[in-house]
Structures are given as structure tokens and as C-alpha cells.
Symmetry: C2
Subunit: 449 residues, 2 copies
């Protein structure tokens, strides 16, 4: 830990959070679920205060919009109606029925008679989450932390500071008054310099989750030795194979592009097999135009749609995450070129092939190295809720620990529990050594000793 | 990737290795196992060259010992007899029968009729391994990389450079002549500056494994955005509870201290319940003295062993990894103090309780937050082979990705494969939305579509 350059205040705050994480680590899931209900009730009681704080945040933000310092879209995200607050409270309650991610026996191996090894899921410890200016993120992240028996230090976007402060206060009050869990389990900081200090505490903070821009993720990765869970750009591809059904392809591309263009799992580039370019591209153009999507294209695409005056894709634009109603289209010679294009320009999040050719699908699913590889389905399914995880901690484009949509399991580690009867390692060495049994046992079966 | 400050040679080397990792990623396990056999045969044929190179390394090292620049223990590690070479070759062959870590279906969820999600294990990609001056490490790491379909760039300790160069040559020749796997799968670099450049290639290198000193691990963690798998010091504790069987305790402590004192899973500190201090400590002293182990102690330990003139444990010495026949002993008031001592001074690797009291054991196993927590067993069991993993990639004290002894699974990631029939996300939204089924299916069962 490089704690020497960290202020005593931040060190104390992080230490208190870590201590709280140790206190909750051995708690039963009932205690944690009751804490979630206490938070929900606290939010109900504090409704007026929360809404008033949000109104102030919105007011400040509107002034900033008028000074040209903020976008109007951001103000929309800050707004908090009684209905939205009710849905935030429902969101907290929705975490309670999820399966307990802690204490699951992941593996069981009988090493020898009376010597049993278990691999058991455990909380990570202390999380630091840097997130965007959204009021609901505060309670969402806090609920997931409570459920997974982790402590969390929150750094909300500064435009939501007032609301976040009130929400954190409400959560801490609920923990303090209604539970045995230390309130230090949920803490917030509000200065960027405080974040910089937290990033130095690699002996205390176990995981940093930067939510927001890729630039933020990169900055955090460079500034810390603490593991980082985050995602790079979302540059998703759909490859329309020679054997694709056209109506299926148009429906899937429509969904993947227009359902929520700003999402990281929206499609940016469609790759089209050359043998169907002449027949498919006019249909794609018509459908996209109807849906308000502008196409950009490679030379072959532009030639096939000559009458439409499609804009060219500029050099290196294949790397672009438009996050908008813009779709880049490229004609490829076949599956191999599609796979190579994705390897070069993709961000490893989600890529799909549309085809009725089982062998082409098999090759694509095997060779495309992305967190999600799809056959005949929209890239928009890349989401923790849709995958059935119940809650989404974030999306990871790391290859370590967690990849793709991350559920509560992403906030856990494991430990090995070995139960013996005085067993020593020396007995398993040398010419008259005992032999290990190494028998895998059903993880949830009865005890062997 | 900060590739701007990387030399073209290293960039090309890393790119070739990455391309090789892509080429092997979809290979069958039969291809990879045949490659292991080809490497073993190549080593047999090149036996004389390998032994000659090792002899040169030893000669150079002996000269360095005479100049006082190297320890004699290091020279011992460099020595390569025909027997040791045969055991290295057997080690390569032993990796082939291990279960394939790639392509395992880890989870299967039926999202909706005809929409099936699978989580499948995949290779990590490109590994960079910085390791100690041991000839056998070269072939051990390379075999694990081949088995797990990963490419690897090796940086061996410089004292073993000649041997390592010949071994890497032999491995590459085997791949080139006997397999379809690109020889660039296994590469070595030999300059520290080359390592520094590799650490900048976070777009190409997927995992760095520094084996060796904790200082090396810290240096690598600070110098890179690439995930790092490594371990800190191994400061392991054994707590002898009031209800411990003395003979069991003496046997376990003997094994944990003397079996291999330099290992990270050897015990450094024994904590003794105060109620048994007077009776147990003289027995411990006698046993340890007989085994050549010197005790150091807290004031109460020294008082209990007054006639033996035990050295005191100096301030902060409880943090020390002796890696030697030295054992620190502390008398504690009970289980809670033992747990608190371990939380403060432990390195989170492996800690044990010796007791016949089931409740004390339960509390210790629950509350001690280490990668391994043991009841009535020696800390020396913390090892991939002993755990039944077949091979050990390393030991991790990280809480992310892999913790404790790491087997071949630690060199894998996973991807989600989604197979649909034109499914779009929009159909699952709004008032007339389709409902997800989210039915978990047996991972190895028949296809649902």
C-alpha cells in the first residue's frame, strides 16, 4: 500500500469501510436482506428530502446548461419524480430475493480419508465505485454491495452530489438504526482528489469499478494497482452471411441499432457477404431509413446503393462507437474477412452472425473472440438481466475474473477450506508415501467427515 | 495500448505471439496433446545440447559465486543432470492426460424457447511469464501454455539464459516441424528493457505472471495496466487452540515449519492459547529444537520458556517471512486475538487452527480471510498438486480471478455463446412483453434447439 501519500481522513474512511466489510463478511443472508428492507423503508420515509435534493441538483444543472457547460440529456438523467423514486425503492427490494452469492460451495475434493477440501464463495471486501450522474446508481450499487456482503465507497458524478449525499445518509441511517451492520459499509466521497487517494490504497480497496467513459476506465487503470472492472468502447458487429434469412436479418439489425443506440451493446457495423450485397443492401437501406438511421459505407456498399448517396466511412472510422442512429456497412468477401475485421476493429463485447448455415455459425462462434458471440440474435441481449443474473454489476471487457455482463458473482472471491485430522504434507512424499485420492464430490452433498 | 514507446521488434514479437494464440485457440485438445509429445521427443533428441548449455550456465554462475555476486543455492538450482532432464521431459508428458481446460460448458441457461445461452471456457490469449533461474520452469510453463491453448512470452532469470534459449529453440522446432501450431506460440526475451516494453502492451498481452520475489510482483503491478497473477509474502499462521491435541499440534507444526522452510506455505508464526501456554510451549520448544528450529517469542512465550533464553520478536517482526528454520511464537488470549493477529500480520495465503472444538474451528474458518483456511492440517497442503489440480500455474494472493494455488483453469477466460432464431431484445419490453424463462439447464446435457 502506498498509504504514505494518502491523507489521514481518507485512510480512516477506507479503514472504517474495510472494517465494516469484515464485520458483514460472516453475516447471514437474512441479516443482509433485512438491511435491504430497512434501506427501502428509510427511502420511503425520506422521500421528500430525496426529491428536494434532486430538485436542487436539477436546478444547478439547468443553470450549467444555460451557460453551455452541460448537455440537456444529462439534466434528464438527474430528474427524480416520485414515480422514479418509487421504482428506485422497488429496485432495492428486488435485490433481496436474489440467491445469496456468498458461502456457495463451488467445489469439493476428497484429498484423502478425513481430509476434505472445499472451495467456498466469499465477499471481495471493499469496492470503490466511480459512477455517472444518476441518482438510481447510488441505491443500485449500494444494494448490490449489501447483498454480496461487500463494503463500498461511492464517488457519484458531481452533478448528482446533493441527491447522492442524502441517499447515502438515508442508507447509513437505516444500517445504524435497523441493523447490526456498521454504517461505514456504505460511504461516499465527492472530490476527484479523494478518488486519486483511494486508488493508492491497494491494501484496503479490493476492486475499483469505474462506470462511464472509456477514458475514465483507462485513467483508473493507469493510476492504480488495484484490480479494475470496467469496459472499453462497445463496437459491436453483425455479420450477415450469404445464407442469412433477409427478414430475420432486417429485424435483428433494426433491434440492435435502434432499440437504444447509446447502449454499449448496440450494433455499430454491419458486415455483408458480397454474394448478397446487391439484393440485401437496398432492403437494409430502406429499413434503416424508415427507422431514422443513416448509413455510412465502404466503396462497395456505396456502389450498391449508388442512388442513395451514402456517406463514405472514413479511414479508421471502423473503430468508431457512434452511440447514435448511424450504421457503418461493409461488404466482405466472406466469413474469414468478417472474422478478421471483427478481430481488428471490434471491442470484444458482443458480435453476431446471422445465417442458416450451421457450419458458418459454428466457425464464427468458435473463432470470434468476444465476451458474447451470437447466432441469429440481437446484440442487445448482452445484459445481466437478460442473461438471468437478476442484477448487473457492470460490463467487463477484461478477460480476467469476469467477462461480459457481470452479476453479483462478480463481487465475490473464494477461499479454500481444508478440514483434516492432523494430516501433514510429508506423509505424501517419498517412497512409502500415502497417495492422494483427489475424488471430486458433489458440491452440495453431505459431509465426508 | 501505449505501443508508441515500444520498439518495433518487441511489438512484432508480441503481435506474432498473439496471432499464434488466435491460431491455437480453436485447436482440438488432441492437436495440443500431440504438440506436447512432439516437445518431449524434441527434448530427448536435443538432450546433449540442453545439458551442454546448462553446464555453461553453471560455469558462469560458479564464477559469479567466486566473485561473491551469487549464492551457491542458486547454482544448485541451475544444475541439470541427465536424470533431472528426464524428469523435465516426463513433466511435459504428464500435462497431456490432464483434462482439457478449454471448451468446457460452465453454465447453460434457456432464456426463452429457442434462445439458449452457454458460458464456455476459452484461452486467455497471450501470457508473459517472468520467472526465476530454473531450467525446468521453461518447459513447465510452456507445457501449461500449450495445454491451455495460450501463447507465452518467457523471460527467464538471466543465470539460466543459455539453457532457456536452447529449450525455447527445441520447443519451437517441435511446433514447427511436428504440428500445425505456429512456433511463435512460445517465445523468449532476455533483456529487462524488453520486459518493460512488454508491460506496456496491454492491448496484446492478456496476463503477466511474475514468479519470484514479492518485490518483483510489486514492480510489475506498478508498471502495467495488464492484469497480474502473483503472490505477496507467505506469512502463514497456525493457531493452537485451548482444545488442541498436543501430539497432533506438534506433528502439524513440525511439518509446516521443517518440510520446506523456504516455501511460501510454510508456517512463520504459531499463536498459542494462553490457557495451554505453560504446558504446550515446553513441548513445542523441545520438538523444534530437536528439528533444528530456533524459536523467537513474545514476552509471555519467553517467560514460559525462561530457562531456554528465547530471543524476543522485535517490533513489527510479526510481518517477517523468515523462509528459514526460525519460528515466531505468540501467546494470545483466545480465538478472537488470534483472528485479529492474522488479519493484521498475515499475507492471506494460508492459516490454520488446531483444535478439537468444532465451534472454534467453525468461527476460525469463517472469519479468517485467507486463500486457504485449515482445520487440523498442515499449511503445506496449499499447493496445486496436493489440491488435485494436476498442475500448478502459480499461487495468487489476489482476490480477483484466481486465489490460492492456481491450476490450468487460471489460464482461461470464458465467453457467452447465444444461439437464437432471430430473437430481438425489444420483444421483452413494454406492456405486452414476452417473459424470459431463465431456466438453468445441466451444463453437459443435450442441446435445447
Amino acid at each position: 500500500m502506498s498509504a504514505t501519500s494518502v491523507s489521514p481522513a481518507i485512510l480512516a474512511l477506507a479503514q472504517a469501510a474495510k472494517d465494516a466489510s469484515r464485520a458483514i463478511a460472516s453475516s447471514s443472508v437474512e441479516v443482509r436482506n433485512r438491511a435491504l428492507e430497512a434501506v427501502a423503508q428509510g427511502m420511503e420515509r425520506a422521500g421528500h428530502r430525496i426529491l428536494a435534493a434532486a430538485a436542487e441538483d436539477v436546478q444547478q444543472a439547468q443553470a450549467a446548461v444555460q451557460r453551455g457547460e452541460l448537455s440537456r440529456a444529462l439534466v434528464d438523467r438527474l430528474e427524480l419524480s416520485p414515480e422514479k423514486l418509487a421504482s428506485m425503492i422497488a429496485g432495492v427490494r428486488a435485490v433481496a430475493p436474489l440467491p445469496d452469492p456468498i458461502g456457495r460451495v463451488l467445489d469439493r475434493i476428497l484429498l484423502d480419508t478425513g481430509l476434505v477440501l472445499e472451495k467456498v464463495s466469499r465477499p471481495l471486501g471493499l469496492l470503490a465505485v466511480i459512477f455517472e450522474a444518476r441518482p438510481e446508481a447510488v441505491t443500485q450499487i449500494s444494494s448490490l454491495a449489501i447483498k454480496s456482503a461487500n463494503a463500498v465507497i461511492l464517488k457519484p458524478g458531481r452533478e448528482v452530489e446533493r441527491t447522492a449525499r442524502v441517499l447515502v445518509e438515508v442508507i447509513r441511517q437505516a444500517l445504524r438504526e435497523q441493523t447490526t451492520i456498521p454504517e461505514a459499509l456504505v460511504t461516499s466521497v465527492h472530490q476527484r482528489t479523494e478518488v486519486d487517494e483511494l486508488l493508492k490504497l491497494d491494501g484496503l480497496v479490493d476492486l475499483v469499478i469505474p462506470r462511464g467513459s472509456y477514458a475514465l476506465v483507462r485513467h483508473v487503470q493507469s493510476a492504480t494497482r488495484i484490480p479494475v472492472l470496467g469496459h472499453s468502447e462497445g463496437i459491436c458487429h453483425i455479420y450477415v452471411d450469404a445464407a442469412a434469412k433477409f427478414d430475420l436479418a432486417l429485424n435483428v439489425i433494426d433491434d440492435a441499432k435502434t432499440d437504444y443506440p447509446a447502449a454499449c451493446n448496440s450494433v455499430e457495423t454491419v458486415l455483408v457477404h458480397q454474394s448478397i450485397a446487391q439484393s440485401f443492401l437496398p432492403l437494409l437501406y430502406a429499413r434503416m431509413t424508415k427507422r431514422g438511421v443513416r448509413l455510412r459505407g465502404c466503396p462497395l456498399t456505396r456502389a450498391a446503393l449508388a442512388t442513395a448517396a451514402i456517406e463514405p466511412v472514413k479511414d479508421d472510422e471502423w473503430h468508431t462507437e457512434y452511440s447514435d442512429l448511424i450504421l457503418a456497412v461493409k461488404v466482405v468477401t466472406g466469413l474469414d474477412e468478417a472474422i478478421a475485421h471483427i478481430a481488428r476493429y471490434g471491442s470484444g463485447l458482443t458480435d453476431a452472425i446471422l445465417t442458416e448455415d450451421a457450419e458458418a455459425a459454428r466457425k464464427f462462434l468458435e473463432q470470434v473472440d468476444s465476451a458474447g458471440v451470437y447466432h441469429n440474435a440481437s446484440t442487445r441481449f448482452a445484459d445481466g438481466y437478460r442473461y438471468g443474473f437478476g442484477a448487473e454489476v457492470g460490463i467487463s471487457t477484461s478477460r480476467l475474473h469476469a467477462r461480459g455482463p457481470v452479476g453479483l458473482d462478480g463481487l465475490t472471491t473464494y477461499k479454500y477450506i481444508l478440514r483434516g485430522q492432523g494430516h501433514v504434507a510429508r506423509d505424501y512424499q517419498g517412497p512409502h508415501a500415502r497417495r492422494f485420492l483427489h475424488q471430486r464430490r458433489p458440491p452440495f452433498g453431505p459431509q465426508d467427515q
